[in-house]
Amino acid sequence: MFKFIHIADVHLDTHFYSRDPELRNKLRDSLREAFNRVIDTCIDEKVQGLLIAGDLFDNDKLSFQTEVFLINAFTRLKENNIKVYYATGNHDPGDKNYRANLINWPDNVHLFNDDSVQELEVKHNHQIVAKIVSVGHKSKKEARNLIKDLPAKNTEIPVVGLAHAMVTTASGVDGHDSYLPCTAEDLISKHYNYWALGHIHQAQQVANESIYYCGNLQGRNPKETGEKGGYIVTIDDYGNVEVKFRRFSNIQWNTLEISEMESIKNYQELKDYIIVKIEAFLNSKEFDANQLILRLQLEGRCFLKKSMEIDEDIKQLEEDIKLHLNLLSLEIKANNLLPLVNSRECLEGNHVLSRTVDLILNIKDNQELIDKLLEIKLCNKKLDGKNARLKYILELVEGLEEEALNRMVGEEK
């Protein structure tokens, strides 16, 4: 039996998205606490290994504090006879310019920090219980599909693949650069018992196979929402794999969409309505409110839209609700709110608005329009290729009918 914990994208010494220095400090502490929790869990669960699928560090700089912190943590694992298997990623490649590569790690730490394929035997009580096959990032822009170079499984012993790679079919890939790209098929073709991947910050199983991204250890910005942690994986002697997600970070980012505010006429009603919605949200997920960084996305038509365009009013609302619910942080986004108009009435008849909405709703069937839109010089310069542009355009067009309605319908007289 091989039991291990799979984590990735720890991004130690990373910077957090917040204007509040106090909150940033809390997040920094939370990340370290989460990492310590990983170490504690390794010891408590009596695992044989800790697998780190890249991006343990955020950049080439490394504080002395973090160096000491890590060495202490890994030494604790050594004292408990637990090995560390660490494959480098695009944020912490094996380049000697990265100070992390110059650390004298304890001898229980094994690094896969270049593009050479390595196979390691995992021994327990003098018996080989598993093999780990891995390849690391040598430079910070590893664009090759190194997975293809990894050998297919040819033994009865459980094999675990470890890599910081981007499976192009995984969800949430858009927010990540395409480093060490591969397809799910590339991974499946190796017939490994488990693939421990890193790079995508959203925990997920890929292609319904034994291929897992564990996500990052601590959400860093409003996009990295929900529980953050790693997987406790057990592969028995017959190759059966049991995967359990374990939350390691206390502080969570989350986004709550609130709509149906047409009938709300004053501040108190709005505040009460939002509080009720947040309370229901907190209860449904059993959140610890004071560990939650919540972003409220207000949607739909709202009588108070005009007030919600005033920064001071939004700040007031944020402060009141935060205080009332004892939230760690609250950000209210009201930019998507729409004025209170009768959209049905406006869309009736034959006119440019109804035609515009029709075009938006049926864009996918309108190649001519798509081609026209593809000709637009977009502001987003990160899009690489026609397909990326098309995907981006279709995403933006989705829901644009509301914007059209908002723009083309005047105030009710």
């Binding site: 910077h15 220095p21 009768n342 440019v352 515009t356 502001c379 914007e403």
Partner: protein, 896 residues
């Protein structure tokens, strides 16, 4: 539809007007001067079709103040020839009714169902043309056609597409411009990002500077600490040295003086004043010799006073304890003798009393046998035996009495005769009473009779019972037998009683009738006998003890060969013992004194020897000091003595130093460890080094301050973390801005596309028709109207007949041509809007007053064509125009 009849009760200036019936089908001409009500009529037509706006009587501009209500009706012929009648009133609420055949429909303030395809707004804008509406073609006029009237189809909520596009464009440009010109959000954010990245580099540099400064600061701190420590050490050293210099001088003096002594050991062993000491010792020797002689004399004197002790005295002394014990017991022996005598007297008294009591009981002298019998008599047994005897005797007496009673008993029971008499007398009385019929007598007789009869019967029964008892003989026999047995028992009881008194000469009669007196006499004798026995037993014991004591004393006296063994011998012996003891006590005192004297003598002798030894020792040492010469030895002694005085003075000075041992230790350490040689030059050099150290320290402190200030300044600047967070936020804003701009650009493009499609779908029809009208109105001069999209917007193009290239319509075109073009477009639009629905009437208000004759004629040609499908209303105040219309269209004016 065409308006064929109008009946105005009140609307604006029109009150109770004559009904206008038979209005022309094609052209209706209203003629009147200014303010005659031409515009009022147009609004009335509009209100007839669409209802009142505003729907409030107080606010409606055409509500006549005289009647305060609006009331009118009209008759219309629909395009299919059907006629309908409409009545509209604006009272407190708007009212309306449509009569269509036999149907009456309540309209309230709603438009006619036949005009729903055109909004009020469009009707007002398109179907009512004034001269100024034809002044401009492009700009407002064209926009209205394009956007409000055509594209939005009359929905008042939907904004002008052009305005929307313009706004979107402006907003998109405020976010991003491809050209990069001007200020826009993305540019600003990129600038901020660039600036932050620059700041980040600076912050990294600052961090490096901070680290370097901190490292230098650490070095400075260490140096300061090191130099301060060094300075403190030197300061402490010089202070210590300055403090220890006098000590060092004293110690040096001490050492020199100590080294000047001659034969120091011998000197130290000598007393401080050896010559005086020697004389003193000689005197002491003489005194001691005198003391010793005195002591010897005293010893002799005391020795002669000690007495001798004889063997007999020693024997007495040896028996001292026994003698004292016997003397102490002499009183007890006498007491024992007295007790014996007393007991003997008591025994005699008891003997006499027994004899007296015995004689009193038995009437004779009692002897020992009798007394023994009395002593052996058991009183309890006697009482039991006597009770048995008395009981048997009582039983015999009872049985004898019963027997005698039964034997002598005769029954003589007679039934009283008065019972019989009473019975007979009662019967008679009753019979008499019955005969006399005297109930009381009868009753009395019955009572007496019953009494007598009852008593007789009862007595008879009692008598029979008694006789039955007398006849029982077995009872007598049983009594006889019991009597015999009791007699035997009595004899036995008597015998038992006598046997108890055997040996006691008491008469039988006394024994058989023993009473309390006899018994108390016996008891008294028995008690005395018992007491006698007890006393005799005690006497025997006491006599035994007395004899034993007396025998012990005699034996003891015999051991001392004293034959006379009475108590007086013992007392004499005691006196002898006291004498011997006294003698011994005196001897002991003398011996003790002698021993003390001998000890004193010995001690004096010992002391004499010691003094002699000391004397010899002093002389010997003085000799050694003086190398065999005592006098010289004395001189050397005195020299050493002076040195010693000096030493003492130095030591006294040293004593003034506190913790002298510590100071000496410090001194040694300074000399041995620090190599300090206690020279002024060395001290000066040290002070110089200290000054240099102080200067160095000040330099370091200044540098420290400088570095600290630099670090504080650097720390006060924005941190990398702040910059990175700001970067994240701005990058997020940047992404959001990109998305926003791209969304705006996409929406702009989609709206443009929608508008284009809309136009493509609607404009060809309108433009084709308009081209036709334009051709007519220009008398074939222009053949086509086009619309082209240019960078500046939509442009109208016209094409002259026979010319290939189209011309863009601009302000340079003649006013008349522009009027013709615009009218053509308007009329074409009306056709387009009414297509498939009722054709609504059109109103021209002074529209043609500026047109030249040719154009007017051409225009009339067009209107004639249009009037085939649509009723046309003219409003004019110009007679020439009215006449021309009347002539051209064969109609008659309605003067207002």
């Amino acid at each position: 539809m065409r308006l064929i009849e109008l009946n105005i009760n009140s609307f604006g200036r029109f009150i109770n007007e004559t009904p206008m019936v038979g209005l022309p089908n094609s052209f209706v001409l209203f003629y009147g001067k200014n303010e005659s009500g031409k515009t009022t009529l147009f609004h009335l037509i509009k209100s007839l079709l669409y209802g009142f706006t505003p729907a409030n009587r107080d606010q409606h501009p055409y509500n006549p103040w005289e009647v305060d209500k609006i009331d009118f009706s009209g008759r219309l012929r629909l395009d299919n020839g059907e006629e309908i009648e409409i009545t509209r009133k604006l009272l407190s609420t708007p009212r309306g009714q449509l009569l269509q055949g036999n149907n009456a429909i309540d309209l309230r303030n709603k438009p006619l169902p036949y005009v729903n395809h055109i909004s009020t707004e469009i009707y007002e804008k398109i179907y009512s043309l004034r001269v100024e509406d034809l002044v401009q073609l492009q700009g407002k006029g064209w926009d209205e056609i394009q956007d409000k009237l055509l594209a939005n189809y009359g929905s008042h909520l939907i904004r002008n597409t052009r305005e929307v596009l313009k706004e979107l464009q402006e907003e998109a440009n405020s976010v991003y411009r491809e050209s990069g010109r001007g200020g826009f959000l993305i540019k600003k954010l990129e600038g901020e990002i660039k600036s932050l990245k620059k700041e980040r580099l600076e912050a990294i540099k600052r961090q490096q500077d901070i680290r370097e400064n901190q490292q230098r600061l650490e070095v400075i701190n260490n140096l300061i600490e090191e130099k301060s420590l060094e300075r403190i050490k030197l300061k402490q050293l010089t202070a210590k040295v300055k403090k220890l210099i006098p000590l060092k001088g004293l110690l040096k003096d001490l050492e020199a003086t100590s080294n000047s002594f001659i034969n120091k050991d011998i000197y130290d062993d000598l007393p401080k004043n050896p010559l005086e000491k020697r004389d003193e010792l000689n005197e002491l020797v003489n005194q001691l010799n005198d003391f010793i002689e005195d002591k010897q004399r005293m010893i002799n004197l005391k020795s002669n006073k000690v007495s001798d002790v004889t063997d007999y005295e020693k024997q007495i002394l040896h028996s001292k304890d026994e003698i004292n014990e016997y003397v102490k017991n002499a009183g007890r022996i006498q007491y024992m003798r007295d007790s014996v005598e007393k007991l003997k007297t008591e025994i005699n008294i008891i003997n006499e009393r027994i004899k007296y009591e015995g004689k009193k009981l038995l009437n004779e002298e009692v002897n020992n046998e009798i007394l023994a019998s009395i002593e052996g008599l058991s009183l309890s047994q006697t009482k039991i035996a006597y009770e048995d005897y008395r009981k048997v005797k009582a039983d015999i007496d009872d049985a004898t009495k019963s027997y005698e009673f039964l034997s002598n008993q005769s029954i003589n029971f007679k039934i009283p005769s008065f019972y019989v008499i009473s019975a007979i007398a009662g019967t008679i009385i009753a019979a008499v009473g019955y005969g006399l019929n005297a109930s009381i007598i009868t009753f009395l007789g019955v009572v007496i009779g019953v009494f007598g009869g009852g008593g007789y019967v009862t007595s008879k029964l009692l008598k029979n019972q008694l006789y039955k008892q007398k006849n029982d003989d077995a009872q007598i026999k049983a009594l006889q037998k019991k009597l015999e047995e009791a007699t035997i028992k009595l004899a036995n009881a008597k015998e038992a009683l006598f046997s108890l008194f055997r040996g006691i000469p008491l008469p039988e009669v006394v024994i058989l009738n023993i009473d309390e007196m006899v018994l108390s006499g016996i008891i008294k004798i028995k008690d005395d006998i018992y007491q006698l026995n007890e006393k005799q037993k005690l006497l025997k014991e006491k006599e035994g003890s007395l004899n034993k004591e007396v025998e012990g004393l005699q034996n003891f006296l015999n051991t001392l060969e004293i034959t006379d063994t009475n108590e007086n011998s013992l007392y004499s012996l005691k006196e002898q013992l006291d004498g011997v003891q006294k003698k011994l006590l005196v001897n002991d005192g003398l011996i003790e004194e002698l021993e003390a004297l001998k000890e004193e003598e010995s001690s004096l002798n010992k002391k004499l020897q010691e003094v002699l030894k000391l004397l010899a020792d002093i002389e010997e040492k003085l000799k050694i000091l003086g190398n065999g010469d005592i006098e010289k030895g004395v001189e050397i002694f005195q020299l050493n003595n002076k040195l010693e005085l000096k030493l003492r003075l130095i030591e006294e000075k040293l004593m003034e130093w506190s913790n002298i041992e510590e100071q000496k230790k410090e001194l040694n350490q300074l000399e041995n460890n620090e190599g300090w040689i206690f020279q002024d030059l060395q001290l000066e050099k040290t002070e110089l080094v200290m000054e240099e150290l102080e200067e160095k320290l000040q330099e370091l402190r200044d540098e420290k301050k400088e570095k600290q200030l630099a670090i504080d300044n650097l720390l006060n600047s924005i941190t990398i973390d702040d910059i990175e967070s700001q970067l994240l936020m701005i990058q997020s804003d940047y992404e959001m801005a990109c998305i926003k701009r791209d969304k705006l650009a996409l929406l702009t493009e989609i709206i443009k596309k929608a508008e284009e499609e809309f136009r493509e779908e609607n404009q060809p029809d309108v433009l084709k028709n308009a081209s036709h009208y334009f051709n007519i109105i220009t008398n074939g001069r222009y053949s086509n109207i086009y619309v082209e999209e240019t960078d500046e917007g939509t442009c109208i193009m016209v094409k002259k007949a026979g010319v290939l290239a189209a011309q863009q319509v601009t302000e340079s075109f003649s006013k008349g041509t522009l009027n013709q073009l615009y009218l053509s477009l308007r009329l074409s639009l009306m056709d387009h809007l009414d297509k498939g629905f009722e054709k609504l009437p059109v109103c021209f208000d002074e529209l043609f007053i500026n047109w030249d004759k040719e154009r007017l004629e051409n225009n009339f040609k067009l209107l004639k064509e249009i009037s085939h499908n649509r009723q046309i209303f003219f409003f004019t105040c110009h007679n020439w125009l009215a006449e021309q219309i009347e002539n051209t269209f064969n109609t008659t004016r309605i003067s207002l």
